[in-house]
């Protein structure tokens, strides 16, 4: 990573490979580079050195457009602050990624209906995010991440803003999804939540600790 004129490495010598179907938890203190790592994996942040292979593609060689097309298709994001669009209803929020993937309206309708049904939030579909509790909002956030059937879910402290009961529900949902074959990488502060994963990576000052 470059920042200004001073070349500081936000991440350094990361050698990591994650297989399909894994559930990885990244842990570490604030500022250790967890989120940056997650953003690099999610192709939202660029990197200056090294290689990154995703499925069969060499991400470091791709152009912006191709990269965007790649993550649009294969990766879903879940955020600590949910990042739902306040002006849109639950239904519309979940539908948005499909619109950007040029999926037909009738098909979108079926897909959103399916996921609403699966998450048991059909009754909430016309509400706005501000009318929901934090747990419900995160549920919508996950539904939105899953709607396009991604192979990988990236979750940045998904339970950070939730109480323990809500957090537990979300983590159980992740386990379930993982069993269904979705690869999950989460960043977390909580050892308890990290334990849901099949592998834990500890990060300190941009380096992986073992």
């Amino acid at each position: 990573m470059n920042s200004g004129n001073n070349r500081t490495f936000l991440l350094k010598d990361i050698n990591l490979s994650i297989k399909q179907g894994e559930f990885v938890s990244i842990m570490g203190p604030s500022g250790s580079g967890k989120s940056t790592l997650l953003n690099v994996i999610g192709m939202l942040d660029e990197f200056n050195e090294g290689e990154y292979n995703f499925l069969s593609e060499s991400v470091h060689k791709l152009k912006e457009k191709q990269r965007s097309a790649l993550y649009k298709q294969y990766i879903g994001f879940v955020f600590q602050a949910y990042h739902l669009i306040d002006e849109l209803t639950v239904y519309e929020n979940i539908e948005t990624p499909l619109i950007y993937q040029d999926i037909k309206a009738s098909e979108r309708k079926a897909m959103v209906a399916d996921i609403l049904d699966r998450f048991n939030i059909v009754g909430k579909k016309d509400l706005f995010p501000t009318q929901l509790s934090g747990g419900q909002q995160q549920l919508v956030g996950i539904a939105r991440a899953l709607i396009a059937n991604p192979k990988l879910i990236l979750a940045d402290e998904p339970t950070g803003n939730l109480n323990s009961k809500q957090g537990e529900e979300i983590m159980n949902l992740f386990s379930e999804l993982n069993k269904e074959g979705v690869t999950i990488i989460q960043v977390t502060h909580s050892e308890k939540n990290a334990a849901y994963g099949s592998r834990i990576i500890n990060l300190l000052d941009g380096l992986i600790q073992n």
């Binding site: 993550y71 950007y100 993937q101 939105r144």
Partner: protein, 782 residues
């Protein structure tokens, strides 16, 4: 910054306009007795349906009024010094000079002038004296003392007896050279002429007692003049001095007049510009208020009262307006030379003049009122906790108003854009209509009457004949026509009563006719087209009595068929109609083409209309001057170019066109500043949403369209409102032209494209910036 720039530009434009409007409304108000001074106006009925309104009166009316009417305290008179341009002869050098007038001895008793040198007494003591304004004295004598210097006009020497301060911009009397009336009547022929009650040569001013009834005075004046006339065909009214500026029904005038309608239009435009600029301020302040909501909430929770917050915001607005005013005055100072050239005035920003401060103060108060009240109330009134609950009430409540204000701005801008296009098209249309002949290849040279009268009648025809022959021998002169009128661009029609006659005319039908007296070359020079019959043949003696009519004359006179060959009496001379020409333009397109009668009697034709080969106009002028010097070595030469005459005819229209242009550009620019600011604000407010959408896979294009869409809708809605308004207003403007364009659909399409393009470019600058930003950054700040 956007706030300040928009506000200052709007205020500067508005203030310049108000300066001009105030000047227009304050004409001639600086004379001590301005409220009691009136000008005599004569209403002379010349036929059943035609009354001529004159600002001139007979010389003796003034004398008699002062003696016989007790309400009249004083009388003074002014008359132009000769016709047209005068030539000052200073030590053998000729200088053309306009704006010379005769004034009588009482002039300075009635009107206030500032003498820099000399005094009214010096001036009146000697008949052949002269007063110059300061700038004229500088022009002729530099920094030397002008007093006592001699200027010769024609054959008479005048001695400068005083120097006056330049005429104020709000004076109707824009004369730079004044000469005593005594000098004119010193010539016995002039005196006899002037003392005839039938000659209306003097603009006559009366100073009345404050309690005088103008109706009564007018009736008494009529009594004086009626005794001297054999017909009861004259009425008199009094025009107040301060009302002269907007008098526009006079047949002609030695003063400049102005159209009150135009003044009102510009006053309204000035207010609209100020409004547009203030809307920007309000919009940007309230928009930013949502971002400032946190500050306000905390202040409230800490214990600020509504009153204190209100005060805070009003203070901010006053401060901003004050800074804007300073910037405004700088902008005004910079743009003043341009503005002066435009208005043909010499406004100056004098910081000691109360006028400037009245206008600045008024504008400042209006701006503060417009910019502080709404934002202040809005900001200080919302509930503090709502912002912390994440529910932004503010945003929803004032969003609609903000949109409404933007729509108002764009409506005004679009109306101005449409106006600009319509006015431009009409002026283009005027240009294209008058293309029978190429104006840039024509000039005219006239022999002034004062030279002409020195020749005996039998010499005259041979003089003009040999002058024309000499002109034709010049290589840069293609053709010459000798004619009577000095202009073919702006010809007046007048009624010649019963001396013009034809078969079937009703006794009381005496229409106004434009008479052309020309020679045989005229037709080809101005490219007249014959409709029937023939043009004049050279050497045909009978043609001297014959007439050629235009189509309108044939139609309006209801000439019996066949038209060619009918008896026609023109100004007492009986002949036949030998031809009909197609209608051609001979005056402003504001007026309809009237009946024209063309004749070829050439005894008193003194104007040479000269056609030049393309691009040779300057050479032709020099050639004509050479010929002139051969014939009249001691007389100043002057030529008039048809291009310039034409431009003069439409000067007012061209000026309005340019002003509307300027207004439209300023209005669009300020509106765009506002739009730019709002778009920036929207992008800022929706920063997070944009980030989320990008992560969800939105392309740059879709984000730009998302952010721009609502603004485009607003502009579209503005068009819906602006188009009918513009259509109505512009049709009203076009009504002033007898020949005019139709407002075509493409004008609206053009305006729509311009407005949309400008709005989209403005908004997308911000939208693209927002859409290109890395989404991680906008989300990380949470």
């Amino acid at each position: 910054m956007i706030n300040l720039a928009g506000l200052s530009i709007g205020m500067a434009a508005a203030m310049l306009i108000f300066l001009w409007v105030k000047n227009e409304f304050g004409f001639d108000n600086y004379h001590r007795d301005a409220g009691n001074i009136y000008r005599v106006k004569n209403h002379l009925s010349v036929s059943k349906n035609e009354t001529w309104l004159w600002e001139n009166s007979p010389y003796l009316l003034g004398e008699n009024a002062k003696q016989q009417i007790p309400e009249v305290l004083d009388v003074c008179r002014i008359a132009p010094f000769g016709y047209g341009t005068q030539y000052f002869n200073i030590k053998g050098q000729f200088y053309p000079e306009e704006g010379c007038a005769y004034i009588d001895a009482a002039w300075f008793n009635v009107f206030n002038y500032k003498f820099i040198a000399g005094s009214p007494r010096d001036f009146n003591e000697h008949p052949f004296s002269m007063l110059l304004t300061e700038s004229k004295a500088k022009k002729y004598f530099g920094n030397e003392n002008a007093i006592g210097r001699v200027i010769r006009i024609d054959t008479v020497d005048y001695q400068v007896q005083g120097v006056l301060a330049d005429n104020p911009v709000n004076s109707s009397f824009q004369f730079n050279v004044l000469i005593p009336l005594a000098a004119r009547v010193a010539n016995p022929r002039n005196k006899k002429n002037d003392e005839s009650w039938g000659n209306f040569n003097y603009v006559t001013f009366l100073k009345l007692t404050p309690s005088a009834d103008t109706q009564v005075v007018a009736t008494k004046l009529k009594g004086i003049i009626a005794k001297e006339r054999d017909k009861d065909d004259l009425k008199i009214s009094l025009t107040p001095l301060m009302g002269m500026r907007f008098e526009n029904d006079l047949q002609n005038s030695i003063m400049q007049h102005s159209d009150i309608k135009v003044v009102y239009i510009f006053a309204v435009l000035g207010i609209l510009l100020l409004l547009i600029a203030c809307i920007n301020y309000v919009n940007l302040t309230t928009a930013r208020a949502t971002l400032r909501a946190k500050e306000v909430s905390i202040r409230k929770i800490v214990g600020a009262e509504k009153k204190q917050l209100l005060l805070q915001f009003i203070t901010e607005s006053v401060l901003i307006s004050f800074f804007a005013l300073v910037a405004t005055i700088i902008i005004m100072q910079l743009s003043l030379p341009l503005f002066n050239r435009f208005t043909e005035k010499t406004f100056a920003l004098s910081f000691t003049s109360p006028n400037l401060w009245i206008i600045a103060g008024g504008t400042l108060v209006a701006t503060v009122l417009l910019t502080s009240i709404y934002p202040a109330i809005l900001l200080s009134s919302f509930k503090p906790l709502s912002i912390f609950r994440g529910l932004n009430v503010l945003q929803i409540k004032d969003g609609a108003l903000r949109k409404g204000l933007v729509i108002v701005q764009f409506t005004i801008s679009i109306v101005l854009i449409v106006g600009t296009i319509v006015i431009y098209s009409q002026l283009q249309f005027i240009n294209k209509q008058n293309t029978a002949y190429n104006r840039s290849q024509l000039l005219s040279v006239s022999i002034p009457y004062k030279i002409w009268r020195k020749y005996k009648e039998e010499q005259r025809t041979s003089l003009t004949g040999s002058f024309k022959k000499e002109l034709l021998s010049q290589s840069n002169i293609a053709d010459v026509s000798l004619m009577a009128s000095e202009s073919i661009v702006n010809m007046e029609g007048f009624s010649s009563g019963n001396s013009t006659d034809w078969d079937g005319r009703a006794e009381d039908f005496t229409p106004a006719i434009a008479f052309f007296r020309v020679d045989t070359s005229f037709k080809d020079i101005v490219n007249l087209q014959m409709k029937e019959g023939r043009w004049y043949q050279s050497g045909n003696v009978a043609d001297q009595h014959n007439s050629i009519l235009n189509e309108t004359a044939v139609r309006e006179f209801n000439i019996h068929k066949p038209v060619v060959g009918q008896r026609f009496v023109s100004q007492g001379d009986t002949g036949i109609i030998i031809g009909v020409v197609k209608d051609f333009y001979y005056k402003s397109l504001h007026e309809k083409i009237g009946p024209v009668v063309i004749r070829t009697a050439d005894e008193n034709n003194t104007t040479f209309l000269i056609k030049t080969p393309p691009g040779k106009i300057k050479q032709a002028e020099q050639a004509a001057e050479k010929v002139w010097k051969q014939f009249f070595p001691n007389e100043p030469f002057s030529a008039s170019f048809l291009d310039e005459e034409f431009e003069k005819l439409y000067r007012a229209d061209n000026k309005i066109s340019a002003l509307i242009w300027a207004f439209a550009i300023i209005a669009v620019f300020i509106s765009c500043l506002g739009l730019f600011g709002l778009a920036a604000f929207t992008a800022e407010r929706r920063n997070k949403e944009v980030g989320i959408r990008k992560i969800l896979g939105a392309s740059v294009g879709s984000i730009v369209s998302l952010l721009s869409r609502e603004f485009v809708y607003m502009v579209l809605l503005s068009m819906l409102i602006a188009f009918p308004v513009a259509w109505l207003l512009m049709n009203k403007w076009l009504e002033d032209f007898a020949y005019r364009i139709n407002i075509a659909w493409w004008i609206f399409v053009t305006a729509a494209v311009i407005a949309l393009a400008i709005a989209i470019i403005t908004v997308s600058l911000q939208a693209i910036k927002a859409a290109m930003a890395n989404p991680v950054k906008s989300l990380r700040s949470e």
